[in-house]
Point group: C2
């Protein structure tokens, strides 16, 4: 375990063999990705949470409505601008006007710093951008100005529908960009509108299952692993799911216990194969959702059987207050990266097929085997000092640009998986 010397730097660590193979296959890897994007175009944007256990580097969550753009190194703002120009040109080169829709029900100013950054990226890329807020229940939203801690503000305007078109004031967009993950369901006002919407409504958390994503990811990895001649497991977290679980009524618990047992066993057997003496653990979380509510670390089956009332209550609610009915059990991946002895996990950001930056999420009060993106908890962000797209064949495979490059490769594998999910959801028709 090594410490980060200052705020915007990478971490040292093992992973050498995987990084060596990635670096050694760089041209083949990029050619392979190009083939993938030909077959399945990348989503509009995404962020991928990675965990680096030294012996394993794997994605643990893929967000198709990413927040956190404010945490990226400002040096790479031009990279975001160029990527978004490419992304929108691919959608339709005649697009000029964009409506950006934020999360509802949040007063988190960090979120709005992210939202302002997204607005700036789109504006600097040369588009007319308005910010429209979804109606809040029956009431409809009201216009409001939010002042941001770092200076500046965002002005949210209420969204109105007239026939098949959406308006904010006199402005009707060509393209709607959602930064709202639709965890509370598909908003009626967005259904069957005559606009192009990215990402499509069908990729919101109300439609999407993490288990579907990781099933696609498994397939992607099996293709990629043969290219590199690696064991797929070193980049793929094992998982299983339980259809319906009611934590309060304790139904579905048998399924969970049985599946947890066999998953822990499968992980142990891989640990044995690699001679690792760590203790396997699982992450149990909602199969739909985003903010890491209702997440627990499980080290033995008895922990599931012996959940107390408080733990059950926490697991039974996820973002938006929905009862958790579907659960995914995912192999826990240790994080062997740290900063001032705090656990750190890399988060990689992509616009279209392009990696545009990332940061370390650092949590001083969480262990190496816990989820760092937990609700209401404070964590730090350390921007990556360098981009993830400057691999250096002349330097060691684990030097900073090469480690960041490896992160970008694994994150893009998750992006390919998301692209395959996306293809199921055809985009809505629209007129510009």
């Amino acid at each position: 375990m090594h410490d980060v010397p200052h705020l915007t730097t990478a971490l040292d660590g093992p992973l050498l063999e995987l990084e060596r193979r990635i670096l050694g296959h760089q041209a083949s890897i990029e050619a392979w990705f190009r083939t993938q994007w030909q077959k399945t175009p990348a989503p509009f944007y995404a962020s991928v949470d990675l965990r680096n256990a030294g012996f394993k580097l794997a994605p643990v969550d893929t967000n198709l409505f990413p927040a956190g753009f404010n945490n990226l190194n400002p040096v790479f703002l031009p990279l975001c601008i160029q990527a978004v120009q490419h992304a929108i040109e691919q959608i339709d080169p005649t697009i000029r006007n964009i409506l950006l829709i934020p999360e509802n029900h949040t007063r988190n100013l960090f979120y709005f710093q992210n939202f302002a950054r997204l607005r700036d990226i789109l504006t600097k890329a040369g588009f007319q951008v308005h910010l429209g807020i979804l109606p809040d229940g029956l009431e409809g939203a009201t216009s409001r100005e939010i002042s941001l801690p770092g200076g500046g503000s965002v002005r949210l305007e209420p969204l109105q529908r007239k026939g098949d078109r959406l308006w904010v004031g006199e402005f009707s967009p060509c393209l709607i960009v959602l930064n709202n993950d639709l965890a509370e369901g598909r908003p009626t006002i967005l259904e069957n509108v005559d606009h192009l919407i990215v990402p499509p409504l069908g990729l919101g958390w109300s439609n999407r299952l993490k288990s579907d994503h990781f099933a696609e990811y498994r397939q992607v990895v099996s293709e990629f692993a043969s290219l590199l001649a690696i064991d797929p497991w070193v980049i793929d977290p094992l998982f299983t799911d339980c259809g319906s679980v009611d934590f309060m009524a304790r139904s579905g618990e048998d399924c969970m216990s049985e599946r947890a047992a066999s998953l822990l066993e499968a992980i142990q057997s891989k640990y044995d194969e690699y001679g690792l003496d760590q203790k396997p653990f699982l992450i149990v979380k909602a199969n739909q959702g985003t903010y890491g509510m209702g997440i627990m670390t499980v080290r033995s089956v008895s922990e599931i059987r012996e959940l107390n009332r408080k733990q059950r209550t926490r697991m039974a609610t996820s973002k938006g207050g929905l009862a958790v009915s579907r659960v995914i059990l995912q192999e826990g991946v240790y994080t062997f990266e740290s900063w001032n002895s705090a656990a750190a996990e890399p988060v990689v950001y992509m616009i279209d097929r392009f990696v545009v930056g990332g940061f370390y999420r650092v949590h001083t009060n969480r262990g190496r085997d816990e989820n760092l993106n937990a609700p209401g908890m404070h964590f730090e962000h350390l921007s990556f000092a360098e981009s993830c797209i400057t691999p250096d064949q002349e330097s060691p495979p684990d030097c900073r640009p090469n480690r960041f490059y490896a992160y970008g490769v694994i994150a893009r594998l998750a992006l390919v998986a998301a692209a395959r999910e996306l293809i199921q959801h055809s985009a809505a028709q629209r007129e510009c």
Copy 2:
């Protein structure tokens, strides 16, 4: 006139009204460019020399085989990588192997630093890159390794043709990227090969006329100026050309004198219109060529009539030793930018349609009315500290990011002109 406080910064100055209009029309400008690239795809890469006279900001030369990538701010290397990925994907997403061809007959190590940077951009973008040198006369080239001052080296391998295919050793590329401006003519070895070549041979200086470029540019400007409601002259240097001039035999001198007189008059009349008390001047240079050989500043017609033998000899030779037969007379644009009281001119670099950086060319021994890119002369390069694609609507129109943005806009107008030239030259067929 203002000084640059340190090496990597912009310069202050007037230009405010033009910059205000550019900033105010940013979204329309970007939409207009998108339309242009739909109609006429951008060249593979280009650099544009600009001159900023305060009352006028105009391109004076457009290089479609740009050197100088080593002078760009290394912070924007990722921007180059992303842009080249886009560029090559547009050509053909199945491309994996690239042959990069440098200038012949140069021992300039700065040139090879540029060439090494280009190789790195392509390699980091995920392509297999080989460097092949054109045969040198009847002899054929020999393999050689060139060590670079900043470390590293480039290995040039002799190019061989077998049937319709080119090889360096066991390597036959899919795409050939020329960084050789073909000032000495179209190399036979590249004619009718079964490879895609960018830029196409037809855009080499042996085929291309500056007057054709600036005629296209004039048309581009007339469309763009109406979008911004500006006088086209503030971004367009007046020019005229003389078909055939033999400086040694003094034929064509009458044409030059007459045209110089009317051009100086036309400039004076614009200076009068704007109440400018500067003295008009012309730049007389070869209509074909690149390195600024045979360039002279002309302030009155008598200077053409009274050329001495030494001046004639200089004008009669251009790169590669060809006699200058065609001459362009271009409105001289003062440079009101300076660094430590040395004249400075911005040079903007583009890959595909994307502005990826730039630098100031600074020349301590040249005046504001002289060409700074003269043969054998020493000049400094000051990388732009910021990218040219982050206009800031909240800041004054002449602040650094906005001035750089204006540079990028004017440079891209020249790029549109080059794209229109390009469309005349269809790309060669190839098999990957």
